[in-house]
Symmetry: C2
Subunit: 83 residues, 2 copies
């Protein structure tokens, strides 16, 4: 079966996000003043083949832990759907 | 009211994603072979103040169109939730 795993990798809350700060300033400059906070991370879409959802979940976990996220500085969340 | 807008900005399907290709190769190298496709984009979390959900949606639209997404090369999707 084919699954789509959508992963969000974000820096942990305790860690400063200078890219987010820059975007917040940029939004103020284009006239949007109501922004309180901006954080920017990665959105990764994996299309993969797996026997079942449990298998897909396992592959997603390994991918995040081994390659996609730096667990010291980043958190990840993902959702799995069938294709 | 405070809202959280979660925006995903991805390059359009027709456009090559070299970063995704590199990650696909990287995943193969760490032993995950079932990956068919990888695409990488940005995940942006905006915390903002708005009168109501309609107002928040409008602010999110303006933010995406004016600053966050390059509409020639990228698509965006967002979800809005209350904080």
């Amino acid at each position: 079966m084919n699954f789509r795993v959508e992963i969000n990798v974000m820096t942990k809350k305790e860690i400063l996000d200078p890219q987010g700060k820059a975007v917040k300033l940029g939004l103020t400059n284009v006239g949007i003043n109501a922004i309180k906070d901006v954080r920017i991370g990665k959105h990764i879409v994996l299309d993969l083949e797996a026997d079942n959802e449990e298998d897909a979940k396992q592959k997603a976990e390994i991918s995040c832990k081994k390659l996609l996220a730096n667990l010291i500085m980043e958190d990840y969340h993902y959702t799995i759907s069938t294709l």
